[in-house]
Each structure stands twice: as C-alpha cells, then as structure tokens.
C-alpha cells in the first residue's frame, strides 16, 4: 500500500491498468474481420442476388466462425428458399453466438415447425416465452403445437394471448375459435368466430366452425337454421371443403332429407377417401334412401378405413412408448401408408433408423416407403 500513496506510483499504476485494459478490449472493439463480408452479403441480398449473398455470408463465417450475424442471415435465407431444416440448423448456431435477446427462438421454432420438428419447435417456443411470456408469435406457435398434441388447456392459454396480439390474423383467430369449439366451449367459440366474419367474409372456415358449434348444441329450429346458413356459406366459398360437405350431409340426415344427405356424403367420400366419417354417413343415407347395396358397400369401406385409423392411432401410442421399436415402427408406417400418409410413414421410419442404426428390416421398409412417396419428395434435403 505504501507505493500507492505516492503520486508517481499511482500514475504508473493507472498507466499499467489502462494498458492492460487496452490489450484486453481492443480486439473486441475492433470490427470483426467477417463484418465486411457480411455487409456485402446483406447488400447482395437486398438486390435479390441470393446465391451471391449466401456465398458472402459463408465467407464471413469462414473468416470468423464466432461472428453471429451471418448465421442469422443464412437461416432466414434458407427458410426463404424452402429449406426449413437447414434454416433451423443456422438458427441454432446463431443462438449459440448471439449477444442480444432478439426472439431468435421464435424464428427457430417456426422453421422447426415448418421442418416437421414439432417437439423441438415447442421446446423453442417455450424457451422464447421464458424471456418474453407475452411474445405473440411464440404463443401462437405453442398454441398451435399444443392443439396438435391435444393439450387443449395449454393450447387455449397460448392462443388466447396470440389472438389478442394478432387481431387481424385470420389463422390465429380461427385456430383459437376452432379449439374453443372442439373443447365444447361453444359460447366463447361463437364469440371468437363471429367477429372474424364481420371483418372478412371471404373464408369458408369461420362459417364451417360456426356451423359445427350450432350442430352440437341442442337442436332447435334456430340452431338448425344457423347450421344450414353457415354451411351454405362455407360451401359457396369452398365447394371442395370436405368437413363442410360431411357436416351438411349430417344436417340433411337430421332434417330427414335423405337424398340430400346421400349427395353430400358421396361428395365428401370423393374428397377424402381415407376418412371413415363420410362412409358411415353414406351408408346411413343409402339405407334411408332404400339403396341397400350401396349402404352395404359403404359400410364395408367404413369398416376398413375405421379399423385402419384405429390401428394407426393405437400403434402411434405404442410407438410413443418406445421409438426404437422397429416392429411397431414398420407396422405404423404400413398403416400410415395405407391411409395415404406415405410421407409420415417415411418420416417415422427414418426417425427410427436414426435411433437404432443399421437394420435390414428398416432399410427395406424405408425403400418401400420412398417408393410410395415418389422420388421427388423422398430425397432428404441437403445441408
């Protein structure tokens, strides 16, 4: 302490400290060697020269792999060009290097969702909401993902936040209304769905969901009329709307207008060959119309599709308990393929293969699934 009491000593110490700080800080204050390449990439992207921009960003990364911004740009670029899994990889690398909170988990969750990585997407949406619980996009993503997972309570919590944040976003408003309807909260569902139509009457879905609610309330002349009006609107806007055709068929059965029920059920079965619902309705309508042969044939189709759907659901639950179970994975893939979901089948098989490694049975099943999907879609995107 004695030397510090002298002015000369104090000055010398300050000089030393300043020098040390400069040695430590200057490299950080100095712009990254990658910055110039990154900026060039931004300029190229601005004039829509995306391939050159991509090269510039990659050069920036080569110059300084710790420099975060080019990863973000490459993530956005990959997403723009329809490579969500590549984008997801870049987002993850960006997040590992970034220095500020900038909703990157939200972007990541979105591309993960686009890439079919739902588990990861939900995890990242949840991470985003840890830093910003009201983040609208994260809430929207979480709401949609919990909807898919049938966790309707959580779905509604998040969708409620998102619906407030995005009052003009049709998908958000509609998803919230749809989940309310599916969970039996018919009053709130109607409150959610009706305002959508006051703003924009050009979409069929809000009409369909209002009809769905009306059909599930105790029957009165008013509810039936409301269901019919809304279904008519939905079908005017979107004649190929499977669910609306099916629901209209059900309404006609309820009204004892059996010929109409038959037509709508027939149309629905043509629109979706693998949903059992239309076949059962078709069988009932055919019976009522005095067409026993058609009723029997429809009932047989219903049984096939219903059993397949049940088998797929049951196998999915079993697969969830052990995703390394090759036998269950192959059976599940077969059921999914039979229901017209070859791409899902392929994804399941590939996921299993990643976990169990070399397996001849799986390899054969993957080849078969790839053939079912077709060459264009079965090739895994390259990074």
């Amino acid at each position: 302490m004695s030397c510090l009491s002298r002015p000369v000593g104090r000055t010398a110490l300050l000089v030393l400290l300043a020098g040390g700080a400069a040695i430590l800080l200057v490299p950080r204050l100095r712009s990254s060697p990658a910055e110039a390449a990154f900026k060039r990439g931004e300029q190229l992207e601005a004039i829509k020269m995306d391939p050159d921009a991509k090269s510039a960003y990659e050069e920036a990364i080569r110059k300084d792999p710790r420099y975060a911004p080019p990863y973000r740009s490459l993530a956005l670029l990959a997403d723009k060009h329809g490579a969500p899994d590549v984008s997801a990889d870049f987002w993850r690398q960006y997040i590992a290097r970034r220095k500020t909170q900038d909703h990157a988990h939200c972007f990541l969750a979105q591309v993960e969702l686009n890439a079919g990585q739902e588990v990861e997407a939900l995890r990242d949406a949840e991470l985003e909401m840890k830093s910003d619980p009201k983040c609208p996009r994260a809430n929207l993503l979480a709401g949609m993902l919990y909807t898919r997972k049938s966790q309707s309570k959580r779905a509604l919590d998040h969708l409620g936040v998102a619906a407030q944040a995005y009052p003009d976003d049709l998908e958000t408003q509609l998803t919230f209304g749809r989940v309310l309807a599916l969970t039996g909260d018919y009053r709130r569902a109607e409150e959610q769905l009706r305002p959508i139509l006051t703003k924009d009457k050009s979409h069929a879905q809000p009409y369909y969901w209002l009809a769905y609610v009306a059909m599930r309330k105790p029957s009165t002349p008013d509810t039936l009329r409301e269901a019919e009006d809304n279904l008519n609107q939905a079908l005017d806007l979107q004649p190929d709307y499977y669910e609306a055709n099916l629901e209209m068929g059900r309404l006609r059965m309820r009204q004892k207008r059996h010929a109409g029920a038959f037509s709508f059920a027939k149309r629905a079965s043509e629109l979706n060959a693998h949903d059992p619902g239309s076949y059962l309705l078709l069988a009932q309508a055919a019976d009522a119309c005095g067409k026993p042969a058609e009723a029997a044939a429809s009932r047989a189709k219903f049984k096939i599709e219903r059993d397949l759907a049940s088998e797929e659901k049951s196998l999915l639950k079993t697969y969830g308990l052990d995703t390394k179970n090759v036998d269950v994975a192959i059976r599940l893939a077969k059921a999914a393929t039979a229901r017209g979901k070859a791409e899902s089948a392929l994804a399941i098989l590939r996921m299993t293969a990643q976990q169990v490694g070399e397996n001849a049975q799986l390899a054969a099943a993957i080849v078969e699934a790839e053939a079912a999907v077709g060459p264009a879609k079965s090739v895994a995107p390259t990074r």
Binding site: Q151, K153, T183, G184, D185, K217, P218, P276, T318
Partner: protein, 584 residues
C-alpha cells in the same frame, strides 16, 4: 309359445281390489331431508341429499393405486342395490378392490361390504355375519345380482381381475362361495380382467345365464410406463394394450353348474375392451340380446338368434360408433324408453372429450344417434362418465338421466380445459320433447365432486323416489336420498314362474296420462353395478296407471288395467297384480 291373456271380469274385479288395498308409500321415520345433515358438505338445495352418515354406511373404495399407475386401478369398482334377505327393503353391496393384483396374494385386502337395510333410513354392516367379509374376492370390480337358482333369494356374482366369484344366498343371511362347483371362476384361461357382468336368460329356459365382459389382456409384470402430455407419470392409454379380449358367456344348466357357451354361441371371435354389459331385447323378438360398451373399440351389439347363437350387429344397426363416426370410449350403459315410443334407447357413457352417446331407438331394431340433438352431447362433453342410469327422479313419467363422473388421470386439470379429476354428477332432466337439460338446480348433494365408478339406482326407503348409490375411488361411498319427487308412481316387482324367477328380460309397458312407456327388468347395468330390479314408473299427476302390459321372458303376455298410483305391486307370472307383500 307366446300367450296373451286379455283382461276379463274377474281380473277387473281383482284389480279394483288391488287398487283399494295397494301398499301405501308411507314408511318408517325418514332420514335427513336437508343437505349437510349427514356429515357431508352442504351443497345447493336440490332433489338429492347425502344420507350416508345417517344411514351408517362407512365404506371407502380403495383402488390400490400406489404410484405405479396400474391400469386396472382405473376401473374399480361397482355397487348394487339388492334385497338379500327378501324383506322388501333394498340392501347395499359395495364392491372393494384393494391392492392391485401385482401384490402378493397374502397382502391384506379390505372386504366388499354388505349393509342390511334396517328401515328408517339406517343400515347395519352385515359384512362379517353374511360371510362376505371372509371371502377372498381378489381385486373385485363388478357386481351382478341375480337369483340364478330361482330360490327367491338373490345371489351375487363378483367380477374382477384375476378371478370371479359366485356367492350363493343361503337364505339365512349368509352367502357361500360356490364358484368352483358352478364353474364360473373365469380363471381357466389364465389371469383375465373381468369388468361388468350381467344376468339374463338368453335361451329362455327359465334359468339365468351370465355374460361377463373383459377389458384387456394385462400382465402387471409388464405394465408399460406412460406419461400424459404434461409429462406427469400417469396411466397408459388402453390403446397400448391390444384388443385381444372379449365377452364370455356362461349357460346356466339349472343344477348349480354353468357351461361356457362362448364358442358355441358364436362369441369366441368377438373382440372389444368391454366395460359395460347390458341385456336388452333391442328388436323385441322375444330373445334377449346383449349390448356391451367398449373402450376405444367399437361397442358390441350381440343379436340373439333364437337362443341358438349370437351375431354382432353393432355397426349394422348404428350403435357401434359415435355421432362423428368415432370409436367411443364406452364405459357405462343404460337403456330406457325415454321418449315413450315403446322401444328402449341406449345411453353409453364415454371418456371426457367424447359426449355420452344416445342411440335413439326408432323401432324394429333400428337406432339413430341423437347425442347432440338431445342436448346430452352439449351437457356431457367434458365429463368423464362411468356409472349411469335412467331414473324418473321427479316422477313426471319421463325417464331422466343420472351420470356418475370422475376422471382417471389425477393430473387432468393441467392439460384439459373445463375438466377436473373429481367431478359432479350430471342430472339430465328429460324435457319431454326428446331433449335433456343439465338440471343443476336439482342436483343437491349430487353436486359433490367425486371419482365415481359404480352407480346404482333404487328406492331404498320405498317412498316412491329413486335414490342413488355411488362407489367412488378412494372416497367414502355415498347414498343419496331423493327428496325431490313430485309426481305419483307405481313400482312393480315381477316374479317369474315359468320364466326365470327374477323375470330378468321381462318387458313392461305402462300407460299413464295417455302415453305408453316401456321398462325392462334387469340384473346388471350401469357400470359394474346392479340397480333395483323393481320397475319404477312415474305417473306425474295421474291417479292411476291406466294399463300395464307385461311380456314375460317365457313369452306369456298379460295386460292389467287401472293400477292405483303411489303403490307397490307384485306381478307374478300368470297371476293378477297384488300389493307387494314385502312392502310394509
């Protein structure tokens, strides 16, 4: 073999006499009539009062759950109203499960309990004296009560996981386990998981046969471990267990022995995760058919082809799937002519997220789904329902519905909106125009949140109001007295002579207020339970039942006129109605 006896002068005279002498509904001192007087927490005033404590019932159903989440523990257990000592007062049987079957056999297991109705709204625990307490009943789930040997005293069939038991009523207040000699233990094909069972005379030989539902093949040593979507450890979905079980049919040979006729009757290939079992003659061809509620597999309707074989026709007649073509999670069943068409419609309770299903009988064996139209779908969507009965609780002549609810997932509140583990009951009042409304104002103590499995209905105090018995998981059982009846009633106890003595399968149409309504005598319904087998008809404002028509299982048809209201009658096959001598 069908006979019809038209009323004649003597019958009319006797009927008038019956009317004059009919049993009064005035009974012993009454139990509490106000909610909260029984020790149960008070709820809003309504039609039902919890009288459990006053009645002296102190039973707690233990489902054996210890954190292992054995699926079997979700299905325990049922209950029954029965008059075991034939004194005219309904006694109570509460089925006990206890430690799950993966525990060693030596693990102490609480017994099922039998309570004798002493009158005045009180019951006496006769578990030990009746021999029920000494029974090694195993993991018991269901109780079907029926007089299989036609001796006038009801016997008990307990179904469960790992073996079933037939308890013969010795007519002296005791029961004897005759499972082995009768051949109905259900253990000959390894450990099976029996749920509900029901008695019915499928070949009309005058002896009650037995239909037993099985759930899934289950091995406690290989119980999979599952979590719900909130990652809490909980029960696995039944879908994880293959649909490789089905019903079993035992034919009563009439000599105390039963023969397994499952294969002979065409049922060996029938598959389903069976939970609720009900006999009903859905097409009124005189042969009792069977309806089985299944969990995440199609419900089964077994059409009886002349007592020679059964054919599964659920899809064909429209009772196998739900309103949206969905596979249902069926649990409990009941049936009634709720809209006075002369045909019984079927009600199946389902898992939460699926409304209870109403299959409306349009006549001649055809059904249409009226789940949503009737308002039942709207009211029941978020309840997880097991036990259920049609009861005319207000005696207006229209069968209402009472549904016992309670989820299987203790953590359900975290993941599902508007759904709780413990749930109130649903009391759905029949409005008379084909619709039902959630009559919360009349619930009274039925509003208590519970985890109901077994539910039975019966008039335990013979006051003309249908009361409710509830067996809930890990909670004290509850007895709810109906204090809300308004209209008049007639209660009919049928006794077969040529038919089985219980008259199970008899159809009775009562005409009152100009409308004609059907009820069926049953020995087993709801979920794993048996209700009062007497038939109760609300008459509303009418003084009399204008006409009573009976179609006995033997085929005999009888018709009587003008039975005075607020009375109990005994209808003996081939005889005229008389005041029920058992009802003092």
């Amino acid at each position: 073999m069908k006979q019809t006896r038209a009323p004649h002068i003597a019958a009319v005279v006797l009927t008038v006499l019956v009317t004059a002498l009919g049993c009064s509904s005035k009974q012993n001192p009454k139990p509490p009539t106000q909610p909260g007087k029984s020790g149960a927490s008070p709820h809003a005033p309504g039609a039902f009062v919890n009288v459990t404590a006053h009645a002296g019932i102190d039973f707690k159903l233990e489902n054996g759950e210890t954190g292992k989440y054995s699926l079997v523990s979700t299905t325990a257990s049922g209950c029954a109203f029965l008059d075991y000592n034939v004194d005219g007062l309904l006694d109570i049987l509460l089925v006990q499960a206890g430690p799950t079957p993966d525990h060693p056999a030596s693990t102490p297991r609480p017994p099922c309990k039998l309570y004798q109705n002493m009158g005045g709204g009180t019951f006496k625990d006769v578990t030990e004296s009746s021999g029920i307490g000494r029974l090694k009943q195993g993991y018991a789930i269901g109780a079907a009560v029926g007089d299989y040997d036609n001796d006038g005293y009801p016997d008990i069939y307990l179904s469960g996981c790992g073996g079933n038991h037939l308890l013969h009523n010795e007519k002296n207040g005791t029961f004897r386990d005759v499972t082995a000699s009768a051949g109905v233990g259900d253990t000959d094909k390894g450990v099976r998981w029996a749920t509900s069972s029901a008695w019915g005379d499928y070949d009309r030989d005058g002896n009650l046969d037995l239909l037993v539902g099985h759930y899934v093949k289950w091995d406690p040593k290989n119980e999979p471990k599952c979590s719900n979507s909130a990652k809490d450890r909980t029960y696995c979905s039944p879908e994880v267990y293959p649909v490789n079980e089905g019903p079993r049919l035992y034919h009563n040979e009439g000599n105390g022995k039963f023969t397994d006729t499952t294969e002979k009757m065409g049922l060996s290939k029938v598959r389903g995760r069976c939970l609720g079992v009900l006999w009903l003659d859905y097409d009124q061809d005189g042969w009792d058919d069977a309806y089985i509620a299944c969990d995440i597999s199609p419900n089964l309707l077994l059409q009886n082809r002349g007592g020679k074989r059964f054919e599964e026709v659920g899809l064909m007649v429209g009772v196998a799937y739900g309103a949206d073509a969905a596979v249902l999670s069926g649990m409990g069943i009941t049936a009634a002519d709720y809209d006075q068409t002369g045909w019984e419609s079927i009600l199946v309770t389902n898992f939460s997220g699926q409304p209870n299903s109403l299959f409306h009988a349009v006549g001649k064996g055809a059904f249409e789904d009226k789940t949503y139209e009737s308002g039942i779908g709207f009211a029941s969507l978020n309840f997880n329902a097991f036990g259920v009965e049609f009861i005319d609780y207000d005696n207006d002549g229209l069968p209402d519905l009472v549904c016992g609810n309670g989820h299987v997932d203790p953590f359900i509140e975290k993941i599902a909106p508007n759904t709780t583990y413990k749930e109130r009951k649903l009391l759905l009042r029949n409005t008379g125009n084909g619709a039902f409304v959630d009559q919360t104002a009349d619930l009274g103590d039925l509003a208590e949140p519970r985890v109901t499995r077994g539910l039975a209905a019966g008039d335990f105090d013979n006051d003309g109001g249908i009361d409710i018995l509830d067996n809930s998981q890990n909670m004290p059982a509850a007895l709810y007295r109906n204090v809300g009846r308004a209209g008049r009633f007639v209660t009919l106890r049928l006794e077969g002579t040529k038919s089985n003595r219980d008259a199970a399968g008899a159809l009775v149409w009562v005409t009152a207020n100009g409308t004609r309504s059907l009820r069926t005598v049953r020995d087993g319904s709801s979920y794993a339970s048996t209700s009062d087998r007497r038939l109760h008809f609300g008459l509303g404002e009418a003084q009399n039942a204008e006409a009573v028509e009976v179609r006995w299982p033997s085929g005999l048809r009888q018709r009587f006129t003008s039975l005075a209201g607020d009375r109990f009658y005994l209808l003996k096959e081939g005889s005229l109605p008389v005041p029920d001598p058992l009802v003092k």
